[in-house]
């Protein structure tokens, strides 16, 4: 791969991640779920065990596509009390690293900062998100999304009530 190919690849992945960030900040959660493959996973490990494995350890979130859809539906419902009224969020995605895996998928990491404002409080969720992206025609789909928080605990937030 030439440097130019590498830049082009990273630019296309960044574009995809920026698009994802807009969907989340705009609360277009169903469209966001549509970015995922049917066999996808969304994992958020516990803050005290960033390397946590959801088949063995306690994590915050371990969604397959069914629960991910349910999560989106829940967040869209007015009975999701922690997010009703909805918080305001603004996402910053940077330091994107892309590697092509042997089976032609993309292994991606990005540093992510999400400010969340609600009820007079504003606190950031900070961490990295690791993705496995799969090519789907000309587009990309998320096969795996692991969002690892740098926070020591959720004392500022009380919950992971938005999508991090």
């Amino acid at each position: 791969m030439t440097d130019n190919d590498r830049f082009a690849l990273r630019a296309s992945v960044e574009e995809f991640l920026f698009r994802e960030a807009v969907l989340l900040d705009d609360w277009r959660l169903e469209e966001w779920v549509d970015l995922f493959t049917d066999d996808a996973r969304y994992v958020v490990p516990s803050t005290d065990l960033p390397e946590g494995d959801p088949t063995r350890d306690l994590v915050f979130i371990n969604d397959d596509i069914v629960r991910l859809r349910a999560r989106a539906a829940r967040l869209n419902s007015r009975h999701s009390h922690r997010e009703n009224p909805r918080s305001r969020t603004r996402r910053f995605v940077s330091n994107v690293r892309v590697e092509e895996t042997d089976d032609g998928q993309l292994s991606v990491s990005a540093n992510v900062l999400v400010y969340r404002f609600r009820s007079g409080e504003g606190a950031p969720y900070v961490g990295t998100i690791d993705y496995i992206l799969r090519r789907d025609g000309g587009d990309l789909r998320i096969a795996y999304r692991r969002a690892v928080l740098d926070l020591e605990d959720l004392s500022r937030h009380g919950a992971v009530s938005i999508i991090f």
Binding site: V44, P45, S46, T47, D48, L49, G52, P54, T55, R56, D57, L58, V59, F60, I61, N62, R67, A70, R71, A73, R74, S77, H79, S80, H81, R82, E83, S119, D153, L154, S155, R156, H157, G158, A159, V160, S161
Partner: protein, 434 residues
């Protein structure tokens, strides 16, 4: 306001009210520290968290930095996390393994059983300096019951089993589900809530709020289907709230949502059926039909007074509440699983836990929101009363009634008046005169 008047407990008329200053007053918060948290048994941790010699965990318990460690002789020891020399914290990580413990200030070194074994420049101390007087200090009392370790800062506290009173049998019902004992898995959910700690004790036992507050969870689960085939529950009483003595209380429910131990639900998948049937047979064989039914088909939210909850429903969560201020608490939750479970069985259980529980679950965030909402509301209504009288005149209160919460509050009220026991529960007449 007089402490005596903070609760209205009129058992003849079925009126139970808690004055909201109980959730907002600094004076009462300080008094709780003294009369409750410095006198009761307080949960510290589970033996499985320090499986091997040298394994340690750091905790804050009722405001005090402590750590527990499995010493070389295999015993679990608990120490105040403060150097006997000049006070620095000896244990500076939340978890790890150590052969010896060295304080980073002047490098005094302690064995895993707390003896002072190294003092740099020992000869500079006079002849009256005795190493044996400078070992790590332990809390006045440490005892365990079936793997659960508790500490007390009250040297005269009754033994732990006596203290647990009726809660002991419910702990047994949880622990006995496992064939090879229970263990806490790695990873904990730690979060904070800007609300008084008693609101979470109450909320964790409150069946009344389930449908209105957790509607998205209830809808999600019913969307996945229910299994009423061969329903063993139809003829059963629908659950009960109970006060178990010494402030411990339980809300015991039949469980149509499935229980990873031995009640199948479509969410577990067809392939889980044979295993779940097998476990159920084992429980019946070992404990008999009735007790096996309670283990498999009933759920329990158990409060071990004052600040520990064992939530045994979609999975088993140990929930510890650490009060920080009248309007602020830390919450830590761990996941307790049977040691014999691995692979698919463990995966099913882990998955089930996350549907409801935890700060990323489909219900816990709503509880956080609701408690903060109450606490903020108290500012508007500082001089008002909260009503906790549901089901007070019923002969057999259910889980949506509030007997279990009254049990908690009565003990709290007794303790706050310097008494060790609440003198009466629902159904015992009187209490109107205040």
């Amino acid at each position: 306001m007089d402490i005596q008047d903070l609760i209205i407990d009129d058992r003849d008329r079925g009126i139970f009210r808690v004055h909201r200053s109980c959730m907002t007053s600094f004076d009462l918060f300080r008094r709780e520290r003294e009369l409750i948290f410095n006198r009761c048994w307080i949960y510290l941790g589970h033996e499985s968290e320090v499986e091997n010699p040298g394994d340690y965990r750091r905790r804050t318990v009722a405001g005090r930095p402590l750590f527990f460690i499995r010493s070389k002789d295999g015993r679990v020891r608990v120490f105040l996390n403060s150097c006997p020399h000049r006070g620095a914290m000896v244990c500076r990580r939340n978890a790890g393994n150590a052969k010896t413990l060295q304080c980073f200030y002047h490098a005094w070194t302690f064995s895993t059983s707390g003896e002072l074994i190294g003092v740099p420049g020992r000869e500079a101390y006079g002849p009256h300096f005795k190493r044996s007087e400078h070992g790590l200090k332990e809390p006045p009392r440490v005892e365990s019951y079936r793997g659960f370790y508790f500490v007390s800062f009250n040297p005269k506290v009754e033994d732990l089993v006596t203290y647990l009173a009726g809660a002991r049998d419910y702990l047994d019902l949880v622990v006995d589900q496992a064939e090879e004992g229970m263990r806490v898995i790695s990873g904990s959910n730690k979060y904070a809530i800007s609300a008084n700690w008693k609101l979470l004790a109450e909320n964790s036992l409150d069946g009344y709020h389930l449908i209105p507050t957790h509607r998205t969870y209830v809808d999600y689960m019913s969307g996945l289907g229910t299994d009423d085939s061969g329903d063993t529950l139809a003829s059963r009483p629908p659950g009960a709230g109970r006060a178990l003595g010494n402030g411990h209380c339980v809300s015991e429910n039949i469980s149509r949502n499935g229980r990873p131990i031995a009640r199948w639900h479509p969410v577990f998948g067809e392939e889980a059926k044979p295993r779940i049937a097998r476990v159920r047979r084992r429980l019946v064989k070992k404990y008999g039909e009735e007790r096996a039914y309670r283990m498999a088909d009933t759920s329990r939210n158990l409060l071990i007074y004052p600040n520990l909850l064992i939530m045994d429903f979609v999975a088993i969560s140990i929930r510890y509440i650490e009060p920080l201020a009248p309007d602020r608490m830390d919450v830590t939750a761990w996941h307790l699983v049977p040691r014999e479970e691995s692979g698919a069985a463990l995966a099913t259980r882990l998955d089930s836990y996350l549907t409801f529980l935890g700060p990323g679950g489909f219900a816990t965030p709503d509880d956080v929101e609701v408690l903060e909402s109450c606490q903020t509301g108290f500012r508007a209504s500082g001089n008002a009363w909260s009503d906790i009288s549901r089901g007070m005149l019923k002969a057999d209160p259910g889980t949506a009634d509030e007997l279990q919460m009254r049990g908690f509050w009565r003990q709290w009220h007794a303790n706050m008046q310097g008494l060790s026991q609440a003198n009466a529960q629902d159904g015992q007449p009187g209490g109107g005169e205040r």
